[in-house]
Subunit: 244 residues, 2 copies
C-alpha cells in the first residue's frame, strides 16, 4: 500500500487515482466546518468552486443554505461563512449547504475521481481512520491512498500536514510513503503533545487570530471529538452511516 | 526579515522577489554537483533549461563541457551526467560547464530575478550562511530571503527541505518563517544527528540507490566539507571569492 500526501489544492503534481481512495483535509477551516455541520444535523454539503456556481446551484436546490469564504471572510450575500461556530443545529439541521471555500472545495475536486473520498479534520481523524480500515478490508483492489491537504493559497500549510501525519500514524503501518507523507508523520510525532500551540504559530493560525477567529483555531485543534465519517457521494458530502 | 521556503521548482506560488535574496537547493544532485565542480576548479556553470538550449549555447561557448541528466541519467551525447564524482579536477579544471537538470536549473530560473542568488547543498551550507550574513550587513534594503528547494518532479522532497532547515537554523534567528520554513527547521532539528540515514529513506535517495548511485547519496549527505560560495552572476554560477 502506497500513501501519498499532496501539499495543496493547487499541487502541480497529482498521481493517478485509479484503484485509489482519497482523503481531503482543510483544518482551517473547510473540513472542520463540514464535519461540524454534519454532526449538527446538516443533510449534505455540496462543494462548488465558484461564487457563481454556488448561486446557480441554489436555483435547483430549494431551501439550501449558501456558505463560503474568500480570504477567510464570509462571501457577501451568503448565509454562512467558514466558521464552524455558525453551523449550529438550529441553522443547519435538516438542511443542505452549498459551499465554496478558497482551498477546501478545490482540493475535493482534485481527487473526486478516486474510488471513495473521505473528508477529515482533527475533529474526526479516528473515525475516518476506522472507516478507511474497514473499507480496505472489503475492497482488495485498492492500491493506494492519496491524502490531499488543501493548504493555504496553493502553499504547503502545517495544520493540514499535521492532520495528514495523524491519519498516517493511524492507518499507515507498513505503508510506503512519499516524502511529504514521511515528513507529515515526523512532524505529527514531534508536535502531537501540543497541537494547538503549533497551529497558533502557523501562517493560517496567525491570520485567523488577527481576524478575531482565535476561538476557531482552538476549536479546530481538538482531536477526535466528533465521530463523523463524511464521504463524497454523487457530488455531495454526506455522513456515511454505514461506517459509523 | 522574512524567510520563505518554496517546495519545488514547479511551485505554483512564488513570492515577489523585489528587495529579496534567494538560495537554490538541489541536494540530489544538481547543487551538490555544482559546488563540487567549482571546488575542483571549474570556471563557471551555465544553467540552461533544455537539452536544445544546452547544445545551442555550446556553439558560442567554445571548449565548454555539456552536462545534464533526465530521470537521474546522463543525457545521451553529453560529456557529463549529474554525479559529483564525474566532476574531477582533471575533467572540469579551468572549464565552463553548460548544465541542464530536471529540477535544479528550473529552480534557478524561478528565482533568478532576486537581488543575489546563492547555490547551496549540505556540502557548503555554512559557507553560504556566512556569505549571506555578510551580504545582509551591507545591503540594508533586503527584506526577505527566498529559499527554493528544487524538489523531485515538482514535488516536495525531504533532502532539499532538510538542507533549507539547516540554513534557516544558521541564518534565521528571529526571522519570520512561512509554514514550510518552520516545518523545514523542525524536520532538520529532528534528523540532524542522522542526515544520511534520513536521506536514504526518501524517494529520491531510494531511486539513486536503485540506480547504483548509493555513493552519491553518501557523498551529498556530508555537511560543510567544501568552503565554496557559488552565486549567480550574469547568468553563470561562479565562486564568489569576495565572500570566501
Amino acid at each position: 500500500m502506497l500513501i501519498e500526501v499532496l501539499p495543496s489544492a493547487g499541487s502541480p503534481w497529482v498521481p493517478s487515482l485509479a484503484n485509489k481512495i482519497a482523503v481531503v483535509i482543510d483544518v482551517f477551516r473547510a473540513t472542520s466546518t463540514m464535519v461540524t455541520a454534519l454532526a449538527n444535523g446538516c443533510q449534505a454539503i455540496i462543494p462548488v468552486l465558484t461564487t457563481e456556481e454556488a448561486l446557480e446551484r441554489r436555483r435547483t436546490e430549494k431551501g439550501a443554505l449558501l456558505a463560503g469564504e474568500r480570504k477567510a471572510l464570509r462571501i457577501e450575500g451568503f448565509d454562512l461563512g467558514n466558521s464552524p461556530f455558525e453551523y449550529t443545529p438550529e441553522v443547519v439541521g435538516g438542511k443542505k449547504i452549498i459551499m465554496t471555500t478558497t482551498n477546501g472545495t478545490r482540493a475535493i475536486q482534485t481527487v473526486a475521481a478516486a474510488q471513495q473520498v473521505w473528508i477529515a479534520s482533527f475533529l474526526n481523524t479516528e473515525s475516518v481512520a476506522q472507516s478507511i480500515s474497514k473499507y480496505l478490508e472489503t475492497n482488495e483492489n485498492i492500491e493506494g491512498i492519496v491524502i490531499i491537504c488543501a493548504g493555504s493559497e496553493d502553499r504547503f500549510d502545517i495544520p493540514d500536514t499535521l492532520c495528514a501525519g495523524m491519519l498516517i500514524n493511524r492507518i499507515g503501518t507498513g505503508a510506503e510513503l512519499n516524502d511529504l507523507g514521511l515528513a507529515a508523520s515526523m512532524l505529527y510525532n514531534m508536535t502531537k503533545g501540543n497541537i494547538l500551540e503549533t497551529l497558533q504559530e502557523t501562517e493560517h493560525g496567525r491570520l485567523l487570530n488577527s481576524l478575531g477567529f482565535d476561538r476557531d483555531v482552538t476549536y479546530c485543534a481538538q482531536t477526535n471529538i466528533l465521530p463523523i465519517v463524511p464521504i463524497l457521494k454523487n457530488g455531495e458530502i454526506v455522513w456515511d452511516m454505514d461506517s459509523y
